[in-house]
Subunit: 341 residues, 4 copies
């Protein structure tokens, strides 16, 4: 059975696994204070071209989002995000559980618009009752978005500009960061993205690791006693090295980008096949998530041999489905899916 | 350099690692709904001799404690524990962060006393102002305790009795459960412990895994929508299989207890050496943590060749230090420590 | 200077004040357990025609909303409300501060639509990922709404039907309940409204009291240990009698409705004047809040002699303003405003 | 029936009530932004002799404590207080509900000791694991304490010194502040106390008002957007003037201290009577709460004619009971109690 459900249905990339094997017998520091985590952080600092960046490792994406957001916000602040943002839709209210409101902006294929953000903020501060409202303290974006789309550098600079103007922090959820940066048409580099965000995370779980996300703060943007805040939210692993070792492998010799690039090649092959067969994409996404509109007959037929996610029903007879590639997707799997389409 | 700092400064037990290697290439379900996690849960149900037990896997101990406690308590309830309880001392206020008070009982070498618990509860309900107080909704114990001590079956039955009488849940933190159950003098079995606790967790991180704890509820004790509650607290791994695979290995052919037993043998050897050399134990612990009183000179001397944790200073010239063994401790390491003592 | 800003810029209704004077010298029970609060609760039970109703008094509206909502919801649940709901807009994130998400429905002049609620719920439960989302546990409505509009009995029955079908609680914020029930066209009585809502509150602050709201639960709908939950949220007054005394006066001989009715007569007079002068209402509201579209010149001119609230700007040259009447508004004030318009 | 249960079983002081009557017909600003609240704040600034002090009014004590504490603390911080502190014992876990731990110090008749605080703090920062613990961010004291005792100026200066040394804020719960400052032996003035505390509150509810506490911050100590934080915790009254009016009366011509002084005179008379009859005080308190040890026979006999609170049982045959005087206690009531004793 082919499985295009998601990019976290697999194990670790072989090189990541090998590093776990190689280091398994060693004794190390704990709670993320170990030589492997330090080495990984160094490599990430090099990758973002910022020797002052602060790097922390957290096991999963939702945990990272809730930890970063609740640690950066003041009690009177909320986080702004697109209607479709992962924190707003599929994290079981984890952000609200920490006491903070999510302030919604319209989603444009997963993205927020700088002009609409500016309108929200200027209206907020013009409102004579705004002390009775929730202050917008942070903008949450995802790169790539939940719809696989990516912001242009210009769009990101515009968002950054509005954030700076209104004293908001900018946080980028990079659960699939590698896949976004390697997409055709991506015009921003990792160092540039880091330069625009107060804090972002580089996703490991979906990009070659068994678990783990690397949180990267700009100098001076780390909340006081962030280690304690991580612990308080239950987000600290006793054997923190588990994540450090994996990122140390991922950021050696460009592995992270090499394997992300590979997944994008597979996605592009699939997009070409879908185009050739006349299937229309629901959202024009350049990254590793492809949303296609299928008639229900096709959905039923395909389901016998392929796993994929049902997204939504645009009308009575058709369904939007999602195919996801990853570093572990092979050309053969794409070809076989092509035959089945 | 010898390292007796803790039982989580190492990698995975070789059999656990091998299982990760063997399964790495397979595609699986996600979020803990995968064949490995199901197999591991089945083995744990067999080990606790309860086919109705509900089993969930969570990455770390603090996260498990906060998730279980906050999910089981009503808003008006707090959790009772020993002064020395891990949740009260070394989890950065994670329980309070979820909105619940920790109600303290005196610690007797890490243990709580059923009589004192009964006094607390009868006083509480006799107090005419108790609606202005926090209701004791759960008892948290650790087995073994933070001081390496263990409860007898009789003591646990007495605690259970008080909990039942006052409608409280009983939760056992088993971060080092294997080491406790394999201690000399332990008179309770895993199925018996499960039978006495509404919920407990079987620690993996400190007992052979890279990460992961197995939460085991008695039938009917699982909070509604516990999966959502796990997700909301950031405690759900996308690749939940990471923990499932490891517990599947740990609970195959008794590996979990075999390796815990080995650590206890090492600890016993160390205790014998310490006795022989006339060092006095601070707390008489039968499990894998040994607390010894050393004069400061000895501490200084030992520190040159051995890592261990400084616990507290009973007086000006002496220090309580902790030595911890684990499944990875070798007889040679014990012997070398013996020579250095 | 005329003041039509709001319905809480005044003192107490004279009869309410008189009762405070009459009872001032008496000694009583505390924390809401006093003869005045008991008498008031009895009168409210009579007014809702339900001897089993449970009645609690809380000082303010936001506090009541956060206390009721957070006490009724499970941790995995959120509260559904209109975009324009007070809890979503003007309570500084008080609901989220208690850990719960607000799930938004479109506002139709302040009201939610039963069909849209049904769609939300059926979609939610049909979504295969709904365990990763926030469960809709309660519907929050306001009567009258933040736009002064009122639901018909049929609309409320439809909402109730959907709530029952999906196991949701229905909560009605009645900060201005008297004004709503006395509006022309209102086709529901207080007992009927109580019969449709698991819990509602009868507003005192805006309807004749100095402070205080009466929370009314249907039998069996009170959260366990609600008194403790009130205390825990800081919402319990030591001299609870302060609110009891006032509601005891308000619910004697129909005072509450008599004075609300008077405010509606004033609002109707004002609506007639506005119509006569050709001003168009922004929202057709039958209760004590009137939203009018004025050109900016008129706003400026009026502001010299009248206080009112600026609501929003529908376009460059015009402004939506709000005039509010209350039990303390006199026919003379309306006439004077008429002259100034 | 005589009632010595507490100091909040009565109405308002006649002068306070009169001010409510006098201002009742006036229209005013809302949410605490009104002329009465401003006037009251001015008088309080004069009373604390600090024109830069920031003053806010909140309806009740628990609400004030939770609002001030949760607004001043960072997420990683907890509040230190005596075992017997009101926030630790009788507020239903309101502080923990906001996510913060209460760190306990031994109580010495309700007071904490500067030396013990210093030990706690120096141990905390010396502990190599302190990043895994809760940072002590604020000291909470009460003046007078829950046992009616009062700190000397020297003791308060010592506590202040430790707080400054370790970067902690000092917060004084003054629910009964007037009674404390007017006690025989009190050697600190209101301005001096204000000078030692980052924030304190001057209790109104127990000292002549129907409700209300005045929070007083030193210049620069107010949390950002404190108005929003008050609203978010449900602690803002729409008719904020209700509290402002009362404090405006209480702080006119020294009324607050005059009536507190009167209560202390009554308490002193009662203490003399108790001494004369040979009853021994449980705690030597100079303020308006008197704790006496009675044999159970006497308790039973007295209960037929007097209400008082049962505190605790020091042994099988005796009971500690509490008698409380207030501004409304008359010499006749004391004399009658004397006859009954």
């Amino acid at each position: 059975m082919l499985d295009f459900t998601c990019d976290y249905n697999n194990g670790a990339h072989p090189s990541v696994l090998q590093r776990l094997i190689d280091t398994n017998g060693l004794i190390s520091g704990t709670y993320g204070f170990d030589e492997f985590s330090e080495s990984a952080a160094d490599k990430i600092r090099a990758a973002v071209e910022d020797p002052d960046a602060a790097v922390y490792f957290i096991a999963g994406g939702t945990q990272t989002n809730m930890t970063v957001i609740s640690s950066c916000l003041k009690s009177y602040e909320g986080v702004v995000c697109a209607d479709t943002g992962h924190i707003n839709c599929h994290e079981s209210g984890a952000v609200e559980y920490t006491g903070h409101k999510i302030i919604r902006l319209p989603s444009h294929a997963g993205k927020v618009d700088a002009g609409e953000l500016e309108d929200l903020l200027s209206s907020f501060y013009a409102d004579q009752s705004h002390e009775h409202m929730v202050f917008p303290g942070m903008l949450y974006i995802s790169y790539p978005t939940e719809y696989g789309t990516i912001y242009s550098k210009t769009e990101l600079q515009a968002l950054r500009g509005v954030c700076v103007k209104y004293g908001m922090k900018l946080f980028c959820d990079g659960a699939r960061l590698g896949y976004g940066l390697c997409s055709d048409g991506a015009d921003i580099t990792l160092p540039e993205l880091h330069g625009l965000c107060d804090v972002m995370y580089i996703g490991g779980t979906k990009c070659g690791a068994l678990c783990g996300e690397a949180v990267v703060f700009q100098r001076g943007a780390v909340p006081d006693h962030f280690v304690t805040l991580i612990k308080q939210r239950g987000a600290m692993l006793a054997k923190g090295r588990l994540i450090g070792v994996q990122f140390d492998a991922l950021f050696e010799d460009g592995l992270y980008f090499r394997i992300a690039n590979q997944a994008i090649r597979r996605a592009n092959e699939l997009r070409a096949l879908l185009d050739a067969k006349g299937y229309s994409q629901f959202v024009g996404s350049p990254s590793n998530q492809i949303f296609v509109v299928l008639d229900d007959e096709t959905v039923k037929r395909l389901s016998e041999n392929v796993k994929f996610e049902i997204w939504e029903k645009p009308d009575k007879d058709r369904t939007v489905v999602r195919f996801v590639t990853s570093w572990s997707t092979t050309p053969e799997q794409i070809a076989e899916l092509g035959r089945l389409l």
